[in-house]
């Protein structure tokens, strides 16, 4: 009896410790960028593009990178969804008689999922060279799309697989075609689609390596797809590498901005997921 009681206590303490370490490091990270970045946070940071002396610590902000990041991550997520939804529907609803083939495709996406983003950056760069595209918003979107497609496909695939077969049987027995059945399945997984969008956008907005060669960098807000675009992770990278203390501080402020953006998206997605779960079984 005493042994069981001790066992219970021992593992309980272990679990509490692990929880403290994990949540503690979360607060440590957020706390660090908060305290280092907050003194350099001001209205100009998010409303102005870099001024003439920005990189020696003078006027301006990182609006170019904020807007650029939204363009790249948003464009890549939209483009990725357009490609991923048909893929996920096809391997689940059209290939159910061919399990070997659909599992091979799933494995391919698993492999793609694990490929480091620098490889996507390099691959995107090759595509750009082939088509004669210079480092630009378009190039960045293409590279990041490649990065998020496996995330989107795998997430959507997992969600579609949670839809009970009986729901498909129900629409099929009413004489629905596969496409009509797919539409009902998509309705059923709407909260899952939002989760996928969130995951994809979150990954896209924070990735440095894929945009390093492809999006370029610019102090201006891009006005067309062919202009280079600044992104937040690259802005952070450049600023932290500066010898000027003022600029380094702004690097942390930029990191804080990026973190807040991701936080807002997470909360927003959470609200949307709840709203759209209304009809879920």
């Amino acid at each position: 009896m005493r042994k069981r009681k001790f066992e219970e206590l021992f593992f309980r303490v272990l679990m509490i410790l692990a929880t403290i370490i994990v949540s503690g490091s979360f607060f440590l990270i957020v706390g660090t960028i908060f305290f280092k970045g907050l003194p350099y946070m001001n209205w100009d940071m998010i409303t102005k593009t870099p001024g003439g002396g920005f990189y020696i610590g003078k006027e301006g902000g990182i609006l170019n990178a904020i807007i650029g990041s939204f363009y790249v991550a948003g464009g890549a997520t939209v483009l990725g969804l357009i490609i991923s939804i048909p893929v996920a529907i096809f391997i689940n609803l059209y290939m159910d008689g061919k399990r070997l083939l659909s599992n091979t495709i799933r494995m391919a996406f698993d492999v793609l999922f694990g490929i480091p983003s620098i490889v996507y950056g390099a691959f995107g760069f090759l595509i750009m060279v082939y088509f004669g595209i210079r480092a630009s918003l378009l190039g960045g979107i293409i590279a990041v799309t490649l990065l998020v497609i496996p995330i989107l496909v795998r997430t959507l695939d997992e969600v579609i697989r949670t839809v009970p077969f009986e729901l498909r049987d129900a629409t099929l027995s009413l004489g629905a075609t596969r496409l009509e059945t797919a539409k009902v399945v998509l309705r059923q997984i709407r909260p899952g689609i939002f989760t996928a969008i969130l995951l994809s956008f979150g990954r896209a907005i924070g990735d440095v390596a894929s945009v390093l060669f492809t999006a370029g960098f610019s102090d201006n807000i891009p006005t067309s797809l062919h202009e280079p675009a600044a992104t937040l992770p690259l802005a952070i990278f450049f600023q932290l590498g500066s010898p000027v203390e003022e600029v380094q501080g702004r690097g942390y402020a930029s990191a804080l901005i990026l973190t807040i953006i991701v936080l807002i998206i997470t909360v927003l997605a959470d609200i949307l997921i709840k709203k759209f779960s209304k009809h879920k079984i």
Binding site: D96, S173, G175, A176, T177, H279, I281
Partner: protein
């Protein structure tokens, strides 16, 4: 019984993977009656039911030979139009699976995919089918509410209404009351009895009392073969076959 029956099965064999699930099934399902398929778990009851509307099409490793004639047309013929065949049959599964939409849209879904767009016609159809399944008075004030808000018994009746809305001739029930409480079960059973005036009904059930209460005919399936087929009272009270006798008495299950 001289005209062609709605469902006529001829030399049907079903293999799933290496297993021979159904062996040389030959049966004419009586029209406008309730026919129950009974038998122990794993005997092939559900397989037989699902082969009536080709629901095995989307499953890997299923091989089907023989003929299932629906209104004289072989549904497994290469040129058979599967959506039109399925429209002739409403399926009521073990648990209710309402579509992720409102009560109204659930019933209107079938008619809509088959091309009915007029609001008036749809309104009328929805009301008619919800009345036929006894739901109308319970839901008429909240037709736009989510179907998942209904109780599970109401959901099952909604699924029945949804199936009836496409104008089938046959109703297939796959242990349709197994997830329901006794009151909801009784409501569904009564519905089957009243609906047989218009529809031919085939039920899979493992509850002998239910088979006795509801059905006019019984098919006893054992190890993938039809052992006995006949009027309910005869099969249950005075079975001809030894296996049926043992099953009815509860010796094999």
């Amino acid at each position: 019984m001289t005209k062609t029956p709605h469902i006529s099965v001829q030399h049907l064999d079903v293999h799933i993977g290496a297993q021979h699930i159904l062996k040389d099934i030959n049966i004419n399902i009586p029209d406008k009656k309730v026919t129950s398929i009974i038998g122990p778990s794993g005997c092939g009851k559900t397989t037989l039911l699902k082969s009536f509307n080709r629901l095995w099409d989307n499953t890997a490793d299923v091989k089907i030979t023989g003929k299932v004639l629906v209104d004289g047309e072989d549904i497994y013929a290469p040129d058979a139009e599967v959506t039109r065949i399925r429209k002739k049959m409403g399926l009521l599964s073990q648990r209710p699976y309402p579509l992720p939409m409102s009560i109204y849209d659930n019933v209107a879904y079938g008619p809509r995919i088959h091309g009915i767009r007029k609001k008036q016609v749809l309104d009328q159809l929805v009301e008619e089918q919800l009345k036929a399944t006894g739901l109308w008075n319970e839901v008429k004030d909240r037709l736009n509410a989510s179907a998942t808000r209904l109780s599970i018994g109401q959901q099952q009746r909604l699924c029945l209404a949804r199936g009836l809305a496409v104008g089938p001739e046959i109703i297939l029930g796959d242990e349709s009351t197994s997830a329901l409480d006794p009151v909801s079960t009784a409501i569904i059973e009564d519905l089957f009895i009243s609906l047989k005036e218009k529809y031919s009904i085939v039920l899979v059930t493992h509850i002998l009392r239910q088979a006795r209460r509801v059905s006019d005919y019984i098919i006893f399936v054992y190890m993938g073969k039809i052992i006995e087929f006949g009027p309910t009272e005869e099969v249950l009270l005075n079975p001809k076959e030894e296996l049926t006798k043992e099953y009815v008495k509860g010796y094999i299950s």
